[in-house]
């Protein structure tokens, strides 16, 4: 019979086992290892840490001479190290702090990495206070790749034990942590933008000025570079599918911005709208987050690669149609619309209306909305970026609407005496009871409603404008039905019209009152007009509106036919004068901006873009460089700085028969839009060199001085060859 083990012995064994198991575990995992051509160790800047106070754990990768490890984006080949920290205790681990890498050429490829010993630090905090007085073990699961030309992958699990106390103590490795911090990017992340074309990416960010000193100490060379403003910036993309890593990067500075021209990767993701970069001068650097230049981005998408229309689900479509319908209802309450339909509603008589009379208003509204929809779809198909109220960008339309609204206000105020014919006209058109008058009211209501975008409508229209044509039509028709519903109900049924207040003298007062929202709309239109033209023209427009009002009033006073005709002619002139001047002003404005953009020494040579002038120059066998640019276009700025303002190009542009034509697409206009569509472009830059009518050459979107100069000289040769020699100069 065996004697049972005494319980004290049993307990002792258990306790020993527990104690040693922790110890054994720690001993199994070392803090250092070595693989072929590399030594790897796990370090901390502290050997005694305080709970909840962050410290650093770092993985020191020490490759042999000439061997290297990789940055977060390894470049053309290779692989970034992967570090996963864990602990049985509760810890918080931050992101790897990647020091500024170097570009390491391998044959004709480039890798981003570190050729010397590199410490990859991670901020860590121990959350568990109960560890005070004991130790915390941090385990690192690592994988790395070390390469010379050949590459050797490695894996290891290392561990590090740190004391936990109320007072922290630095470890023997603190110095390498401090040294590594000097090699980290600046703590401030900067913002910039980028643009993409078929071959390149262009980055733009505000200059790093002398005042904008890095929070990092610069070495003597950097200070010098800072002083001269000549940083040798290099852009390291975080992603490996953005740029061609081996391609040279071009860096440009102007007063405000630094721009970098980077050949784009074969694997470039055209749907990306945001990229992060490390911009480095070799010693230090900063992180730059760039967003796509929306102006350019939109143009690119609409033409080059039209994005597939978003497919709306049936429910979504239904929701949008409902929204459009409600938006249409709300439109009735807009200050420009309400007066017109109020008059109509009040004057409504229900004396055996025919079906045509009942539905004429609805027809007018629906037809008008569909015309708008078709116009928008057609313009969109041609690649133009337009939206609801696109016609409001035309000063001529603004002028016409201003006169129309003024006229309606006069009608409402009864400024036109009864029996003058004009009043009858107004009466007939707006408040008459015939089918054609209802129809016209519908059309008029849509026209005046068009500038007032009800908030509901904006979303639905936005969807319509980016969707298939049939979706646009559905939404526009829902809008039309919503818009027409209240009035159509009144027309259709006397039950609804009974809800209207009883007619009486108050109606006259109410009608007069409604004139004022109309005049308010005129004030708004005149303000819009100022944005499109200038103060002088605005003054002229206001004067003409007043003269027009006076002429209308005079017309009604007069009884002689000849005098009436004279008034009509003058009234027409009132409308014609600002219309004419506003169309000519836009040209001279373009002239101003074009001249401002160009270099001063080129000033005399710059011709603002005009298709007529271009054609006549071509007919004369002249050489013309056409430059379509915009203030917001980053690529355009780069090309101006690098190529168009270079001495080589200026020399090439110097001959008498060479002309430089600049179109400014900053405030999109139709003339330039037409030109761009000729070349199937929806945006700038666009550069074309003409040799008379003989030849034309579309230049790439990234220019070099030689490329432009050669194209001009080439065109010169062609135009000289083709122009028949002047008989007088023949021997």
């Amino acid at each position: 019979m065996q004697k049972p083990m005494p319980s004290w012995l049993y307990h002792l064994i258990i306790i020993l086992l527990v104690l040693t198991s922790g110890l054994l575990n720690a001993q199994n995992l070392v803090s250092k290892t070595s693989g072929p051509h590399i030594q790897v160790s796990l370090l901390s800047n502290l050997d005694t840490i305080v709970p909840n106070k962050p410290f650093y754990v770092g993985v020191l990768l020490s490759p042999d001479d000439e061997w290297h490890t990789y940055w977060r984006n390894p470049g053309d080949s290779g692989e970034a190290p992967v570090i996963t920290l864990s602990s049985e205790s509760s810890i918080t681990v931050g992101e790897v702090q990647w020091p500024v890498p170097e570009a390491i050429p391998v044959a004709h490829l480039v890798n981003y990495g570190y050729s010397g010993a590199t410490l990859l630090m991670l901020p860590v905090a121990v959350d568990d206070k109960s560890l005070l007085g004991s130790q915390v073990q941090i385990v690192a699961d690592l994988s790395w790749l070390v390469c010379k030309e050949d590459c050797i992958p490695g894996w290891a699990t290392l561990a590090l034990s740190l004391n936990v106390a109320t007072q922290q103590r630095e470890s023997e490795h603190v110095e390498i942590f401090e040294r590594t911090k000097q090699r980290l990017p600046d703590s401030i992340t900067r913002a910039g933008s980028f643009e993409v074309n078929q071959t390149h990416l262009v980055l733009q960010f505000a200059n790093i000025t002398d005042d904008d000193v890095f929070s990092l100490p610069l070495n003597a060379n950097d200070v010098q570079a800072n002083a001269s403003g000549q940083h040798k910036w290099y852009a390291f993309p975080f992603r490996s599918d953005v740029i061609q890593h081996a391609a040279p990067q071009q860096v440009l500075h102007d007063k405000e911005f630094t721009r970098m021209v980077l050949p784009r990767s074969d694997y470039f993701d055209t749907s990306a709208v945001q990229f992060s970069w490390l911009i480095s001068n070799g010693q230090t650097g900063f992180v730059l987050n760039t967003d796509i230049n929306r102006e350019q981005g939109f143009a690119q998408n609409s033409a080059d690669e039209r994005q597939p229309s978003e497919v709306l689900s049936f429910q979504e479509l239904l929701a949008f149609i409902l929204m459009a319908f409600v938006g249409g209802l709300i439109l009735n309450l807009m200050p420009c619309v309400l007066p017109i339909i109020s008059i109509k509603a009040i004057a409504l008589q229900h004396t055996s209306a025919t079906l045509l009379q009942k539905s004429a208003y609805l027809l007018g509204v629906v037809l008008c909305f569909n015309l708008f929809a078709v116009a928008i779809i057609a313009l969109q198909a041609s690649g133009q970026s337009i939206g609801w109220g696109f016609h409001m960008q035309e000063p001529v339309v603004i002028i016409m609407l201003a006169f129309l609204f003024t006229f309606i206000a006069l009608l409402l105020l009864d400024a036109l005496s009864v029996g003058s014919g004009l009043a009858g006209l107004g009466q007939g058109l707006i408040s008459g009871n015939s089918a054609s008058s209802h129809f016209f009211t519908g059309v008029l209501a849509v026209v005046v409603a068009s500038p007032c975008t009800a908030p509901f409508m904006a979303v639905a229209l936005g969807i319509a404008l980016v969707s298939d044509p049939y979706v646009s039509l559905l939404i526009f028709n829902a809008l039309a039905l919503g818009f027409a519903l209240p009035m159509t109900l009144l027309f259709a049924s006397s039950r609804f019209s009974r809800w209207l207040p009883k007619p009486g003298a108050w109606m006259i007062t109410f009608k007069h009152l409604l004139a004022f929202p109309m005049l308010l709309t005129v004030a708004w239109l005149v303000w819009v007009f100022l944005g499109q033209t200038n103060a002088q023209l605005q003054f002229l427009l206001i004067s003409m509106l007043i003269v027009f009002s006076m002429l209308t009033w005079l017309y009604c006073l007069s009884h002689k036919r000849v005098v009436k005709a004279v008034y009509i002619v003058f009234a027409a002139l009132c409308i014609a004068l600002p219309t004419y001047l506003s169309t000519s002003i836009s040209v001279s404005q373009a002239e101003n901006s074009a001249v401002n953009d160009a270099d001063h020494s080129n000033k005399a040579k710059v011709i603002p873009y005009d298709p007529v002038v271009l054609q006549s120059l071509k007919d004369d066998g002249q050489v013309i460089l056409v430059n379509m640019t915009a203030d917001w276009c980053i690529t355009c700025k780069v090309n101006e700085q690098v190529a168009l303002n270079s001495d080589r190009v200026k020399t090439a542009l110097a001959p008498q028969n060479v002309h430089y034509m600049v179109g400014d697409w900053t405030n999109k206009n139709q003339l330039i839009f037409d030109y761009l569509s000729q070349y199937k472009r929806a945006g700038v830059p666009l550069y074309v060199v003409y040799a008379g009518n003989q030849d034309k050459q579309v230049l790439p979107q990234i220019l070099s001085p030689n490329l432009v100069a050669d194209a001009i000289n080439d065109a010169l040769k062609k135009s000289v060859d083709s122009v028949p020699k002047d008989p007088k100069t023949q021997p």
């Binding site: 053309d76 391998v106 044959a107 390469c147 030309e149 590459c151 071959t199 081996a246 050459q697 230049l699």
Partner: protein, 206 residues
């Protein structure tokens, strides 16, 4: 007139590319894949154009590269070769390692490698000058391309979605080559036509 203009544009684009991106070709999905003729491991000349009418896989390889080893030691690459051999797909393994550099082998060694690794490519081709590699802008081993029966490039990039040398990741990754070929053989569009390749740099000459 218009055709002339088009040609000139193409020329200009190429000229600029040549200036800005020395020695780097362009990978153009849905465009004609550049034709080439290389010697195979049996000393015969093989041209891409020989295989018009069939799908062709180009695989840049280097048997000493750990990323290639990941896919060969796990039988991943060979099983893809076998799978698509059965579907009449041509598989060309191309070695662009220059003589004296890692991964360079002679014809006999290449055949031995195929035997010992149980690999089954249609041909192993030698590109010691690196010209074909540069034509295709091949960067890493492995770097995979798929060309359709009309000779148009349909896929270029990584073999799968997890950039590592760890064979354990193969099962977890999306195999882009397999997905592309499956889609193409089913008459569908390739979902991801371009992915950044990963692996060892190709040991080009110079």
């Amino acid at each position: 007139m218009f055709r002339k203009l088009g040609l000139k544009n193409v020329f200009l684009v190429f000229a600029t590319l040549a200036i800005s991106v020395a020695a780097s070709a362009k990978v153009n999905i849905d465009q004609a894949a550049p034709d080439f003729s290389l010697l195979n491991s049996n000393g015969e000349t093989v041209s891409l154009s020989d295989y018009r009418g069939q799908y062709v896989v180009l695989e840049w390889t280097n048997h000493l590269c750990p990323y290639v080893q990941k896919h060969y030691d796990s039988d991943n690459m060979q099983s893809l070769q076998r799978k698509y051999n059965d579907k009449d797909v041509v598989w060309l393994s191309i070695i662009s390692s220059a003589p004296g550099k890692q991964g360079y082998v002679d014809a006999q060694q290449a055949n031995e490698l195929s035997d010992t690794r149980n690999a089954d490519p249609t041909h192993v081709l030698f590109d010691p000058e690196g010209e074909v590699g540069k034509q295709y802008a091949a960067k890493t081993t492995p770097h995979m391309y798929v060309i359709d029966p009309a000779g148009a490039l349909k896929y270029a990039g990584a073999i799968d979605s997890i950039k590592s040398a760890n064979p354990a990741d193969i099962a977890k990754a999306d195999n882009y080559l397999d997905l592309s070929l499956t889609a193409l053989l089913a008459g569908e569009k390739v979902a991801q036509t371009l992915t950044p390749p990963y692996g060892c740099s190709i040991k080009y000459k110079g």
